[in-house]
Amino acid sequence: MARSDKNLQAVVLCDTYLPRFMPLTAHKPRCLLPLANTPLIEYTLEFLVNCGVSEVYLMCCAHASQVSEYIKSSRWVSPFVPFKVQTIELPNTMSVGDAMRDIDSRGIITSDFLLISGDVVCNIDFDRVWAAHVQRKNEDKNCIMSMVLRKASALHRTRSNRTGLFVVDDITKRLVVYQRSILQKDIDVDSSELLKLTNVAFRNDLIDCRIDICSMDVPALFTENFDYEHLRDDFVRGVLTSDLLGKTIYAHIVDDGYAARVESFKTYKGVTKDIVSRYSYPLVVDSNVVQGKSYMYQRGHIYKERDVVLSQSCTIGMSTIIGSKSSVGDSTLVQGSVIGRCCAIGNNAVVENACLWDNVRIEDGAQVRGAILADNVRICKDAVIEPGAVIGFGVTVEAGTTVPQGARIHAKNRRSSSASAKSKSKSESESGSENGDESDGYGYSDSSAVISNSDDDEPSDTEDLAALVDEMYLSDESIVSLDHRKLAATRKPRRKSRTMSTTSNFSAEDAEDDDEEFVKEAITSINRSIVDKHTQDVAILELNTLRMTMNAPHEKVQEAVVIALVSHIGHLITQSDVKSVTTNVFTTWSPLLRRITFDMVGQTNLAAQIENNCAGMLQGERILAFALMTLYDTDVISENAVYAWHKQPEAGSQVRQLVDQWVEWLENAEEESDDE
């Protein structure tokens, strides 16, 4: 508690604004999800105690009232706690950026503070980190942030696949480049920057624990750059790429102590294992720091609370936690699992590498492997839960059902649109019909279950829940970018007015230049995506980032995409026939186009863009026709949009001949169907 006199403040971001723990986070805030039978936030707060923090602000968004309630009734309000905890409910924030801006507007930060995620498990010696930060600040006045990064390895069980690549000046530990997600094969680095340095480390082996010491400038920077959404992808990248700011960020790489973050199901599993295996000592289960816990350690990393009922013939394997009042039946195997309180496991059942929260009932003969079962789940007789499944609060899995790998199941009543209550079972389809009848509420509904099939490029180890589960959320980014879009759309007017007011000599010319610049950049980006066969998610993200940094309108995005695609087709038609090439390219890229095309106007505009580009091209006529047909078939452009575009003044009438025929056919077909 070396710095208690210095009044160190900590801001805990309880929300990540990412849906990684769905469906569990539908009912419970993520910081209250139990990790090794203790709510996540407890670990973070314990760490803050060791940091010698004196004020803690919990920034909560989803289920904020639950967090407040929890803190109110916890030991953290007792007088012997060295810091004051204040819960700040922010139900209207939509990103970390919003939360940071809120902090700035509140003006609660008085000096350098600790910015930490509400899901951190850490036992490192913070004094050293702080001392290093202070020294850095003395040497470099522009240092606004020190990030704590734990050395691990690229495929570490506790490391998220989404952790970025850190390019660090090996001498000063200054962060030079931050590249999000290493799934991207290219690293986009300004080599001139690197050439200035003698020793550069490209670190792909770090756990980003989201423990940052920030200066007061950080919240302010978020306010200045109101398009910053994410701490790493927007803010850190923003600061590093900006020449104007001149601020620096340092990486504090630790190689002893434990520091990790529960940010996905993979790391949830990994951190659980670490805690059970005592890598986080003294932050272990049997230290019973949270009130009311009574765990005792037994050889082989077995932790049992008081009043555990074990049958004489059951087997409790290594690395197991069993909470109070839980029972295990005859001949049942429990191994490598975390079992909450008041769970009842029947006879001849198997529970391996699974996490059972409180009040879970597993009936005779059921098998649960590598799954997460939330509170009040009931697994009926002989049901099989395969690795990677996540079963939400209060779900009942009917007798004999098989829940396939990686399925996500949650209670129906929470979901408005659940069409079928029938459960599907891969192996025993005949039992499917019974499920609906017997179900006392939910059953397991196929419509809400997400079934993942692991991609080929990832090593798919069926035993490894973590890998599997993480796999499923590789597509998180798409959801994220959707949010981007919405946010950007809503915020746009505000932004414009602001820009107008602050920049007095704002001219239309500048804007045009900017847009041109954007189109160029965007085309390059898409071309790279095409050549390197990136996933579209990546491409979309790049585009969005680009759009937001350069403040370009959506039309320009479309323009860029269309230019890139059409020129790509132009390259290809020399090799094969126009029809197949065009259809192919547009089918492939239709998801992207759909994401950048929202309404009638947009669709019409898209058509117009294609037309413009095809004009003057070899075979332009045919490309245009096939492109529009493909887009119509893939529902990117609606019928009405086609008509609307077709009615527009003919900018390049020379390419329309073929399309005219198609539109005519389309109209006829419409009439025909109308007649019927």
Partner: protein
């Protein structure tokens, strides 16, 4: 005057939960009931005589002698202290039934104190039938928080292993009956050895069903702890150094060329108990708590030399 031996055996027969020392105390009490001694000295004398008769008339008398000694010691101490010996006598007679129930309490106390000795995943070797051990294991099984398995030796001569195995089996405890000769075979797979006691000698050594000695020695050789579960009223002022020091353990016969009969083992006449010296015993679990063998003499000294 009542026959002290018959009374004693009668008590034992009526209640199979009764241990021998308590039966002896009950028998002496019955005698006290009937007596109308004139002085305290006379009363003590009569009781002393009866105790000696009892000890000499019953084979395998160690355990009952513990009861007799305890009773007499209690009496003399009380009489010396309070002067009013007759009141003391009446008091004892009136509360006679209390002792039997106290003895049962002592056993459940042992079970309570001994519970932590049964650990999860344990394999326990048990030799001989002991009510204290049975109760402990039953309680442990009931507690549901530990899982354990029990090897039970056949305990030949007394043949009580199978009997005990049946009792434990009914309580849902996984058991395995092994012949006495295979203790060496199973000792490696055993975590600890539990035995009861007929009597506990001053050194902390234990007089128990025959075979206990070899089991304890094997356990010592294999570095496994040996725990003895015995009520404190079984502590006896004896200091045997070998099994032959035990009263009633006769010499065993060898064949002789003069008598060419076939070799036959007379199980009836075979010694029922042997003596396990203290160095083979890790701890004694008694109603007074967990004692090391040296703690036994401490308790005896407390009683006899205060």
């Amino acid at each position: 005057m009542i026959d002290i031996k018959e009374t004693y055996l009668g008590f034992l027969e009526r209640d199979n939960q009764l241990t021998k020392p308590v039966a002896a105390i009950q028998a002496l009490l019955a005698l006290l009931c009937e007596l109308q001694p004139n002085t305290s000295a006379e009363m003590i004398d009569i009781l002393q005589d009866a105790a000696n008769t009892l000890k000499s008339s019953v084979s395998n008398s160690i355990s009952l002698s513990a009861g007799c000694d305890l009773f007499l010691r209690f009496l003399t101490k009380n009489i010396n202290a309070s002067k009013d010996w007759d009141a003391c006598r009446r008091n004892l007679v009136q509360n006679g039934n209390l002792f039997a129930s106290r003895a049962l309490d002592a056993r459940s106390n042992i079970a309570r104190i001994g519970l932590p000795f049964v650990r999860d995943h344990d394999t326990i070797l048990v030799h001989g039938r002991s009510r204290a051990v049975i109760q402990l294991l039953q309680d442990a099984a009931m507690s549901n928080s530990v899982r354990f398995r029990v090897y039970i030796t056949e305990a030949r001569v007394c043949n009580e292993g199978v009997y005990m195995a049946n009792i434990l089996k009914k309580s849902g405890i996984p058991v395995c009956v092994v012949p006495d000769c295979s203790v060496g075979y199973v000792i490696d797979h055993t975590d600890k050895v539990f035995i009861g006691a007929e009597g506990v000698a001053e050194s902390g050594g234990v007089i128990n069903q025959i075979g206990s000695y070899q089991v304890a020695m094997l356990a010592k050789a294999a570095n496994k702890p040996v725990y003895v579960f015995a009520e404190s009223h079984k502590f006896v002022r004896m200091f045997p150094v070998s099994p032959s020091d035990l009263p009633g353990n006769e010499k065993l016969e060898f064949t002789s060329p003069v008598h060419p009969e076939s070799i036959e083992m007379n199980l009836e006449a075979w010694p029922q108990v042997d003596f396990t010296p203290h160095q083979y015993i890790t701890a004694l679990v008694t109603d007074l708590g967990v004692l090391t063998p040296s703690g036994v003499s401490e308790e005896l000294i407390k009683m006899w030399f205060d």
